[in-house]
């Protein structure tokens, strides 16, 4: 009797392991299948309800965490504020740069989106992936709202990611901190171009890679999407969307590895409301 049980247990375990590998083999590297879309469609109203019901609890815990962080950040921010004041007084150039950044933050009214055919669709974040290996969120706007795969997603602060898959009433968004993400971008005002890649496991850092090391990039310079278009192909993102600011850019590192570190403008850990830019042309 006991042996029979053990044999059955092993058979089920073997079956499950084979099933997992089969699923991985069949579905890896493909876009979402009908099964995933179906399950996601069934559960998205439940996720929506859970998101709304749990928001007060989330906010309460976030308040504790933010208070804890704020104490550490206070001194650092004071130093930064002093530096910013000195720079603002020092010259007209810094003021112009400041004005440029302000314009970039006003995304919807700014030239980056006003000149393009994108229509922003506001959506609420209803779920988030539990591991650092997949940076993805689910939003409550889907194909019924005009959302399509590869549409850019922004928050009030800057670029958040792009739509990876869409159902009727929800969509999965791959964040810019996901390992599969790569965005062509440029530093303003110097115009140095590069590709933004994530630093997996560290959502507060992005890497601007493959930059022209002969042109210096300075700390606190803003990085925006470059939005290239060539030979019928075009970037997924419109030009001029703010992505982040340079936080670490030593000359030695720029020369040696042709990369600098950025901090994303968008608070990717606490996303609540985002906008999906629908209807844009992508060559």
């Amino acid at each position: 009797m006991y042996r029979k049980q053990v044999r059955r247990r092993r058979a089920v375990l073997t079956l499950l392991i084979i099933g997992s590998f089969l699923l991985l083999t069949v579905t890896y590297g493909q876009s979402s299948g009908g099964l995933q879309r179906g399950v996601s469609t069934i559960f998205s109203p439940l996720q929506d309800v859970a998101d709304r019901a749990l928001k007060p609890a989330r906010d309460a815990i976030s308040w504790f965490d933010e208070t804890f962080d704020a104490r550490g950040e206070n001194g650092h921010l004071k130093t930064q504020l002093e530096q910013a004041r000195e720079q603002a007084v020092a010259g007209q150039e810094a003021l112009q740069e400041n004005a440029q950044l302000r314009k970039l933050v006003e995304l919807d009214r700014g030239p980056a989106l006003a000149a393009s055919a994108y229509e922003p669709v506001t959506a609420r974040v209803i779920a988030r992936s539990p591991t650092v290996w997949q940076s993805a969120i689910t939003v409550d706007a889907g194909s019924g709202d005009g959302v399509r795969v590869d549409d850019p997603v922004i928050s009030g602060d800057g670029l958040v990611g792009r739509v990876a898959s869409v159902e009727g009433g929800s969509a999965q968004v791959t964040l810019i901190t996901d390992h599969a993400s790569a965005i062509s971008a440029k530093v303003v005002p110097s115009g140095v171009q590069g590709v933004i890649r994530p630093d997996v496991g560290n959502p507060e850092v992005l890497i601007l890679d493959f930059i022209d090391s002969s042109r210096g990039v300075g700390v606190e310079q803003a990085v925006v999407t470059s939005g290239w278009r060539a030979q019928g192909l075009a970037s997924l993102f419109p030009p001029g969307l703010p992505v982040g600011e340079v936080t670490h850019a030593s000359i030695v590192e720029q020369k040696a590895s042709e990369q600098v570190e950025l901090r994303p403008f968008a608070d990717l850990a606490n996303l609540d409301i985002v906008q999906v830019l629908t209807g844009g042309s992508r060559g």
Partner: protein, 182 residues
């Protein structure tokens, strides 16, 4: 565990509720820049209560549901969580749970195993970007959170699944009557 249709329905409800809570609440709340992952602790608790088969099957199902909802490659979370549930079940079948610290400690250890396993599966599937050493901080903090969340999860599940649990007879030590002065 005696799985009747009613208990099966409860197990399914627990799995769905656990996944929804994880995606809508725990993943979106960060303490010390890391969010808690309760799914390995949930699977460990089910394995501890129901044995290796229950642990493995529930791990597979929960992983499958997570992958479906996040539109991630199917099978990755299933593989990791079924191994986690199976190991927890094997522990229950081979050793007796004497101390109240065993479930949270096991949740902590097996969450570490699950997170490392998930990272390993992702690395094998291909990660196109550099990996930060902060992944280790995330891994360790998630295990610590699992220690604190593991005990209430275990207690709640034990209460929810009580009708199905095979109770082991309690060994109680009888006091010998003593005679004063003897």
């Amino acid at each position: 565990m005696i799985v009747t249709p009613w208990i099966f329905a409860r197990l399914a409800a627990i799995a769905i509720l656990g996944v929804l809570l994880q995606l809508s609440f725990f993943s979106r709340v960060e303490l010390l820049h890391t969010s808690a992952d309760v799914l390995p602790a949930l699977v460990v608790s089910l394995g501890l209560l129901g044995g290796s088969l229950t642990g493995a099957v529930s791990g597979f199902a929960i992983g499958f549901l997570v992958d479906c909802l996040l539109v991630a490659p199917l099978g990755a979370s299933s593989l990791v969580l079924l191994s986690t549930g199976y190991l927890a079940g094997i522990f229950r079948e081979r050793f007796e749970i004497h101390s109240a610290l065993v479930p949270p400690l096991l949740c902590m250890g097996l969450t570490l195993f699950a997170e490392a396993g998930f990272g390993l599966v992702q690395l094998m599937l291909g990660v196109d970007a550099p990996v930060s050493p902060l992944v280790l901080r995330d891994l360790l903090l998630k295990s610590v959170y699992a220690f604190f969340l593991g005990w209430p999860i275990y207690l709640i599940l034990r209460r929810a699944l009580r009708p199905a649990l095979v109770e082991e007879p309690r060994v109680t030590r009888r006091r010998q009557p003593t005679v004063l002065g003897a």
